[in-house]
Symmetry: C2
Subunit: 471 residues, 2 copies
């Protein structure tokens, strides 16, 4: 092992090879503190060539590498195992924005760029970089790509995958694939880009990317709308999709229970809609014409929705500050849950046409089996993405309850997801957390294809082994 | 071989196994009549299970299969070789629309559905299925997916890839992968969908798909705009992208030479812009609000463009019929070229920021080398996609000129494409036509990954061998 470290030292300065426990510690536990691993070293390369050399060294010595960005993942995908034989390869020093191409509306940047920085640099040139999620102050674009991150702008701009035009990747052999092209059309063979995106560092290490930029909207209007059923919430969504089409940039659903929890722990984040209705929907429109245009469009659609009986009440944000409060309300649900104690999180997608049946049946099954249990359901409804979370009964010991019931509750929810042809991981990925259930979820044919792909591209199994798929 | 045919007959009725030369002939020559192959048989399955059984039979006997849809491809991807040992598997009988899910805004359909039928069925339910291309009356959705077809709506809605949410695929083993999920978010492992899309039937046979639907626009305005340089044309595009954003659904560029050829062969398709300016741009806006809204937006942007000196003239279509004429003008360039005689077609993409330099340098190089040569350049400029076509000098024997110079002209153009980090196949794919040049274009690392993927998923090389990549 000393020989490996000394060979690493021929690639990187000593200070970029962390071997002391206290130096390594921040890289060895995941964001949610579910997993803590060990590592031979944490290495911090600055260039793609350094990454390639490190992979070559590891390939020659059959040492496993765990690629890591901002370490904000929810599924333990960037945490090493506990063997102490893996090397964590953190890309935070690769944080150069290589180019902003104004005419082509693209940005070429390295994997270690922090998402918020990318948003800011794009805005300086009057562009929107649409990817936006809770961890944007610390997550990195390489991790966003590796997990195909979602977030709040998917409804209009798609997942990270949809924002990417080209990649630079270091393969399991330590070769560099330069696929950094900023092209909207390129049908020259297999779609390697999308294969690496979402593969969580198990097929190659993404070191740089060309991403799409969009014109900055000049006006945004945010509103909270009260509805009394999932069916009318979906009809409301369909109405907004039809009338506002791509001006619709946010459609978030929050249940009464979610916002009651907010009010309990953060009284300033209480629902401004009278009586905290069964469902509160946050709707955002973004416009490139004028404030008057979008305001009028919003009011017209709300009138139509009211007339059609799809909604019972609405509050339009009077200014940007109030719009931000509405979004904070949405984001505070997760924090309120944390205040309430440990809970069981499920990041699922259901086709919109099956959503009402999913929620009704799953709610009923869970409540029948676990009296007093609390269902905190909210999410990016416009994408069919629910964060269907479960809190133990008020009087239960949370840790004990979760330990005893986590697995059967997962199984109950996931079997409902299967029944509705949904996904057990909408935007958080697989990592370690969902590795085990994946074969059953994907079916043997798809899972065998995944194994064949992993074996083809990483036959030594040195890139983030036992994440996503085991070979 | 008789044994194979009799085994096929246990899967399909005799009438769906074509073995007579005259019956097979329509399936053995490609659309552009560049390639003619032979086949042991042409088989016409009706169900996914039949496709699976046929593949199993071929896998057991190491017989190669060539999947085929409407047979409208431009690169010979669906034409068998001349061994007479391959079987053409045409999917036209698999033409059921399985479901239109209104709330989820998706359509589930089989590979043999004709594109135009899909557009019409969607429209009956008040939806737009945005994929649109010249061959839409005969091309099939399976072929669109297999080649990741582009067309005129890519600017707003993306390539076929971007319209697809889920697939059903028969693998090289004859297994069925049911990935028919209509989800906007699904991060459960490797992106198999995008791997099969664009693989031209070499990794699996796409038998069905879930595709996205969009609300039908209620008003469209089409205009022809005169510009005097590529630079101002791109500035005009950027202006429309900024002001009209997703209302911009068409931005097609036609050079003076292209439209002069139109006028020569189809006088009614002459350019209505005075004096046939250096560049004519067809711009289409589609709106979901009102006719008045989009008309005013278009006029405002044109005024701004005129004021900024980006354009010299414009004609707005007065009605839908005139708008269609503008589009016909664009489509007639290809027909005018055919009238003029054989020509050399190049389907390339260039990043917009490099487009002017590409055109100036390539035009100059070609004209210097081949005096009298004519460059017919037009295309989906909004995507950076040029159909940079070459017609021999007026007085030359076209066939002889093409035969003598095709290869060096390709090489000259493709080396310019490489210099500008473009693509040698924007939307037409690889097939047989571009197989040879692909390794050089992709680079050895990407090409080796493609070979590894093909070997992993089709180790016997029975799915459309020697298309896209040879192993």
């Amino acid at each position: 092992m000393n020989s490996i470290l000394s060979q690493l030292n021929q690639i990187l300065e000593q200070k970029y090879i962390l071997i002391e426990e206290e130096d390594k510690a921040p890289y060895l536990t995941d964001w949610r503190k579910r997993y803590t691993g060990k590592a031979l070293a944490v290495v911090l390369p600055r260039t793609t060539q350094e990454v390639a050399k490190i992979v070559q060294l590891c390939a020659a010595n059959q040492i496993a590498l765990v690629p890591q960005g901002g370490n904000t993942g929810f599924c333990g995908g960037a945490t090493p195992d506990d063997s102490g034989e893996q090397i964590v390869l953190n890309l935070k020093r690769m944080n150069t924005i290589r180019e902003i191409d104004v005419a082509n509306q693209t940005i070429t940047l390295e994997a270690g760029c922090i998402l918020q920085t990318v948003q800011e640099k794009a805005a300086e040139q009057d562009f929107l970089f649409p990817l936006s999620l809770g961890a944007e102050g610390s997550c990195m674009i390489g991790g966003n790509l590796a997990t195909n991150a979602g977030g709040t702008n998917v409804l209009r701009y798609g997942n990270t995958r949809d924002l990417c035009l080209g990649l630079e990747v270091v393969t399991a052999k330590g070769e560099i694939w330069n696929g950094l092209k900023g092209l909207r059309k390129d049908n020259t063979g297999y779609d390697l880009r999308d294969l690496f995106i979402g593969s969580e560092g198990t097929l190659g290490i993404i070191t740089a990317a060309v991403m799409k930029l969009y014109p900055l909207p000049i006006s945004q209007w945010t509103t909270l709308v009260a509805t009394d059923s999932i069916a009318s919430t979906i009809a409301l969504l369909n109405l907004f999709q039809k009338r506002a089409t791509s001006l619709l940039t946010g459609f978030e659903m929050m249940t009464q229970e979610s916002l009651a929890l907010n009010e309990k722990h953060f009284p300033r984040m209480a629902n401004p809609l009278k009586g905290n209705p069964p469902y509160t929907v946050l709707i955002e429109l973004s416009d490139h014409e004028s404030e008057a245009h979008v305001r009028q469009l919003l009011e017209t659609i709300l009138e139509e929705a009211f007339g059609a009986g799809l909604m019972t009440d609405a509050v339009i944000a009077n200014n940007l500050a109030q719009a931000k409060t509405f979004w904070h309300m949405r984001e505070h649900i997760t924090l309120a849950q944390a205040e309430e104690g440990a809970n069981l999180k499920h990041d699922i997608t259901i086709p919109l046409s099956a959503l009402e049946s999913f929620i009704q049946e799953t709610d009923a099954l869970i409540k029948a089996q676990y009296p007093g249990i609390r269902i905190i359901n909210f999410g990016h409804l416009g994408d069919g993405n629910l964060h269907y979370n479960i809190a133990p009964p008020l009087d239960a010991d949370h840790q004990a309850f979760n330990a005893a019931h986590e697995k059967p509750i997962y199984e109950l929810i996931y079997s409902q997801v299967e029944r509705c042809h949904g996904s057990i991981s909408a935007e958080h990925g697989v990592g370690q957390l969902k590795l085990e259930g994946l074969r059953a979820h994907k079916g043997p044919v798809a899972h065998d294809i995944m194994k064949a792909l992993k074996t083809a591209l990483d036959p030594q199994n040195i890139l983030n082994p036992h994440k996503v798929v085991s070979i």
